[in-house]
């Protein structure tokens, strides 16, 4: 297959995909072009369109198809399970809607490989705003998450909703057996913080989404906010799963 290059460990790029037939092929080509030594796993979350066939036809990705729709959390967790069982060192979550530029992947992977953190989150807000405008209500919501999670876990994370994250083996092994299901991203931050994982954010450019629609329309915002804040709070009162003396 592809030759190993300078990359230190085996890297798995996990793409949770639900009805991404339009964009998946070009995305896979871009990632493969960026670094052929990365393995790509498409977790097809029971798409109703041709996502699975198109992804397989490219021959660039392993494709795992779920028998029914589990939602983004269940799909990403499937990827962690795959990464755990197949001996990967770095797992990277990369949402299939084309919002994150492929060229940023290596920055996240680098930080993990240099062991600067267990989890690296690609954030939209870490530096000053970039080209793409996020709706101001959405930004306000994300700001509330930032405050709330600082109160809960004392770590400042600016972009809780980012679906662009890299994990080291310790972190994705943990998440392979503990992962929330709906709207999981903010909750995962709390879960990881509570269990003493080192988190770090890095600024990433954002692109306009190329296909699909946001999983959270603005109109559903208040409902989403309340639900996620509750879930974050509940994640924070749950008992720790990893204790300091227990090493993975």
């Amino acid at each position: 297959m592809t030759q190993k290059n300078t990359s230190l460990g085996k890297v798995l790029v996990i793409i949770p995909a639900y009805n991404e037939a339009e964009t998946i092929a070009s995305l896979l080509q871009q990632i493969h072009h960026e670094n052929p030594s990365w393995d790509i796993l498409v977790v097809n979350d029971a798409s109703k369109d041709e996502t699975e066939a198109i992804a397989k036809a490219t021959g660039l990705a392993r494709v795992v198809s779920l028998p029914f729709n589990l939602g983004i959390g269940g799909a990403v967790q499937t990827g962690f399970k795959y990464a755990f069982r197949n001996g990967y060192d770095v797992a990277l979550q990369f949402d299939g809607d084309g919002q994150h530029p492929v060229s940023e992947i290596k920055n996240l992977v680098d930080l993990i490989e240099r062991d600067e953190a267990d989890v690296v989150i690609g954030s939209r807000f870490n530096k000053k705003q970039n080209g793409v405008k996020t709706h101001y209500l959405r930004r306000a919501g994300i700001k509330i998450f930032e405050w709330f999670s600082f109160v809960l876990i004392r770590q400042r994370i600016t972009d809780h909703t980012s679906g662009f994250r890299a994990y080291n083996r310790k972190a994705f092994t943990f998440l392979a057996s503990n992962y929330p299901t709906d709207y999981p991203e903010p909750e995962v931050v709390i879960l990881l913080g509570k269990n003493k994982f080192r988190m770090k954010e890095t600024f990433t450019q954002m692109l306009e989404r190329q296909g699909g629609i946001s999983s959270i329309p603005i109109a559903k915002g208040p409902y989403y906010m309340i639900k996620v804040l509750l879930a974050m709070f509940m994640a924070s009162i749950r008992s720790r799963i990893i204790y300091p003396e227990e090493e993975l």
Partner: protein, 152 residues
Amino acid sequence: MTSTINPNQVQYIAIAFSLILFFVILFLIRKRRIKEEYSLMWLLFSLVFIVFALWRQGLDVVSGFLGIAYPPAAMLLILLMAVFLIMIEFSMIISKLADKNKNLAQEIGLLYHETEKLKRMLKRQKKQNQSKKEKTAKVKPTPDNNAAQNIP
């Protein structure tokens, strides 16, 4: 027409219904329509109902103890508690089932992926074996050529 209400009538009905409830649940367990572990709450509360149906002063004692002025309200309280506890138990069971269900779906996805990979490998191996046989039919094999090749 004069209708006289038998003062014991409500008690007979209460006893009858709580016994029916108890035996219906036992019957369902016997027929394996309910698993024992999910029936404990039901059995417990149907026994509680039987106790209060038989023990006439029971409700007065309980309502006196809780400071409830109107004893039948104590019955409603017990009933509500029963419903609440059983529903909470259901929520727990459903949560566990949902989790197992999700894990199963993930395993199916991963296993299907594995089987497809294995099938492809088998096919490739078969092809290789065939072409090897054709070769050996033509040329005399040397030990080096025969070394099993690793499938990438």
